[in-house]
């Protein structure tokens, strides 16, 4: 997998809980955004992996241990309606952000925020190489607010191809359609945002193989230097957390300037191609 740009991946250890990681991510984002718990009216917890986290283990009630509710409780976000979202593959967190944005823009309350989080952990023992990717376990969290000063949501565009819903049956068609659909989605998103490709300062990628970005950059007539691909080798791919992890690292390392337009693009099984345009 070195040919595809991968070097390392993160696998949660036995003495770590993914719930604990999720809690850390959410706490950190609330702290950094100085968001008061009261203002969070909803929690969207996304997971793109189609396996019940909750094992029956002889007690049917185990099936009703909900991580979204756990998050609400442990963070003390008692004004929030907490719900789990799933089934959009790697696009789910971007869709959750779009959903949050739509809800907020229809609400009259100014001081209202939505916590979006994602948890991507493969069941223990699962092969880490999936469809030419190296998969890491990860969690991510962000807060969507009205009139945000930072990372303003400019436009979201998604192309859905539900004919491909049965992934194992359509693997080859999916691989073949990936690039034309990716090109179409990004071009439509940029156009929908009222921008041109050259206005985009950074493409914040999914970490699905460097090679795929090398090809896509050619289709988009965009230089590779504009695709922030540093985390592909270090982090690998996490179902839906890639963009948030990348965005945080880009910011930390000083790549982002106020006003920069960013295009966050990903593909999700189901199948859908999604692109979120932000202004930093």
């Amino acid at each position: 997998m070195h040919d595809f740009g991968f070097r390392e991946c993160y696998v949660q250890s036995n003495n770590e809980s993914i719930e604990g990681l999720l809690l850390n991510s959410a706490e950190e984002v609330l702290r950094e955004n100085k968001t008061t718990g009261d203002s969070i009216t909803r929690i969207f917890l996304y997971s793109g992996i189609n396996s019940a986290n909750n094992q029956d283990e002889g007690n049917a009630l185990n099936l009703f241990r909900y991580p979204a509710a756990e998050l609400r409780h442990k963070l003390g976000l008692f004004n929030a309606n907490a719900i789990g979202l799933s089934q959009q593959g790697c696009s789910g967190l971007l869709s959750a952000i779009d959903l949050a944005d739509q809800l907020l823009s229809n609400s009259n309350t100014q001081q209202e925020s939505i916590l979006c989080a994602a948890v991507d952990a493969l069941p223990a023992g699962t092969k880490r190489e999936i469809m030419y990717n190296i998969m890491s376990d990860a969690t991510a969290a962000l807060v969507v607010t009205k009139n945000s000063e930072k990372n303003r949501i400019v436009y979201f565009h998604q192309e859905f191809q539900s004919y491909y819903w049965d992934t194992p049956q359509h693997e080859n068609e999916l691989l073949a359609s990936y690039f034309p659909m990716a090109q179409r989605t990004i071009e439509n998103a940029v156009k929908g945002a009222g921008l041109t490709m050259s206005d985009i300062k950074w493409f914040v990628p999914h970490n699905v193989s460097l090679r795929s970005w090398e090809i896509l950059s050619k289709l988009l007539h965009t230089p590779m230097e504009k695709i922030w691909s540093k985390n592909i080798s270090r982090v690998g791919h996490t179902v839906s957390c890639d963009h948030i992890i990348n965005l945080v690292d880009m910011d930390k390392d000083g790549y982002l300037k106020k006003g920069d337009y960013l295009a966050l693009f990903t593909f999700g099984f189901g199948a859908n191609w999604s692109c979120l345009i932000l202004q930093h």
Binding site: F4, Y132, E173, S177, F179, P180, I215, K218, L219
Partner: protein, 375 residues
């Protein structure tokens, strides 16, 4: 004395239509070299299945079948008395046999297209009554050249996209050097796509496979530019043009471009029209909502190709390597001049079936026949 036409490749996509016209419009006797390894049969079967002719007494009498293989000495004709007999009788030779595969190793392509042509030409040189030698070539002997391609031009150093182009080029060079001893006319075709009236395709070649890939949702990208002009011609008009040039207007030492030229579909239009045709021919296909393949640079196509190879996905690798052997031609736009052709057949363009009028029928035929699986 009746004319005696010796034909190779008469059971092929182009050859069968030409032979049918020779039966219907001439009184000549026809000596058909049928590939000993290939599809054949007795006279009756051949008349019916390849030339759509009833086994009328007249046709049965005019047809002689000779088993052979052009790659072999004496074209693999086993009986030397049969071979000698042909040497004495033959007045016309039409050499259509070839391998039209784009993916053969160069040695194999040369064996059929160059050595085979040499063997047929060697036979021609020895024929005591030979008046005409027709050879079918491809407009893509011009390989990676771009821009205007004239009929009287051949030698170049631009290189080739595949071994088919190269081997046909080498065959042409060989025949050109033979011009003093054999009266050769060369007919360069662009790409034969199907019948202009019915859409029927008798031999599914690389472009038909590319259409199939789109139908199966497996065509991700084509190299080239959207406005590249894809030159496609119909099998029926190609055959009647060949017949007119060879039978009614033979001129030795000349080369003719039998191409579509202006009014051709562009690469983007080919994709659009293919999608339109597929939707019309198969309503259930529409629901799949496959994206149209992207038209990309050579670099992007090669990167994609390499990823499929290193990812070891056998289906995509096969699809791409099928495309790989011809799709690169889409990067070398050409304009085939037709001065010699139009001087000989001034009404060629007037009667040329426009590809836009029958491309949909070809798509429908491909789908309905499942690319030749159902007759």
């Amino acid at each position: 004395m009746a004319q005696q036409i010796f034909i190779t490749g008469g059971t092929g996509m182009v050859g069968r239509e030409l032979v049918s016209l020779l039966f219907k419009n001439t009184q000549a006797n026809i000596y058909l070299l049928v590939h000993d390894k290939g599809s054949g049969g007795d006279k009756k079967t051949i008349l019916q299945s390849f030339f759509a002719l009833q086994n009328k007494k007249e046709f049965m009498e005019r047809l002689q079948i000779i088993k052979g293989d052009i790659t072999k000495q004496n074209m693999g004709v086993e009986s030397s008395s049969d071979y000698n007999d042909l040497l004495g009788k033959t007045t016309h030779i039409f050499h259509c046999a070839a391998s039209t595969r784009f993916d053969l190793p160069l040695g194999e392509a040369r064996q059929i297209n160059v050595t085979g042509t040499k063997n047929v030409a060697d036979f021609g040189q020895k024929c005591s009554n030979l008046k005409q030698f027709g050879f079918i070539s491809t407009a893509y002997v011009s390989g990676k050249r771009i821009g205007i391609i004239k009929e009287n031009e051949l030698e170049h150093e631009a290189g080739f996209v595949n071994t088919y182009e190269q081997s046909k080029y080498e065959a042409e060079v060989f025949l050109k050097n033979l011009a003093k001893s054999v009266p050769v006319a060369i007919y360069r075709l662009s790409t034969v796509i199907g019948d202009s009236k019915t859409g029927k395709v008798s031999h599914f070649t690389a472009p038909h496979q590319a259409i199939r890939m789109m139908y199966l949702g497996l065509a991700s990208m084509f190299p080239g530019t959207p406005n590249y002009s894809v030159d496609l011609i119909s099998s029926d008009y190609t055959a009647s043009t060949l017949f007119n040039l060879f039978w009614n207007n033979f001129s030795p030492n000349k080369t003719f471009h039998i191409t579509h030229g202006s009014g051709s579909l562009t690469l983007q239009e080919i994709i659009d029209e293919s999608f339109k045709g597929m939707a019309e021919a198969d309503s259930s296909w529409v629901e799949k909502n496959y994206p149209k393949p992207a038209i990309v640079s050579e670099e992007a196509f090669d990167l994609f190709m390499n990823s499929a190879v290193s990812a070891n996905n056998p289906v995509l690798k096969n699809v791409l390597s099928a495309l790989n052997h011809f799709a690169h031609q889409l990067l070398y736009p050409k304009n085939f001049f037709q001065n010699s052709l139009l001087a000989m057949l001034p009404d060629y363009k007037k009667h040329l079936p426009g590809i836009r009028d029958y491309y949909g029928k070809v798509i429908e035929y491909c789908i309905k026949s499942k690319w030749g699986k159902i007759q």
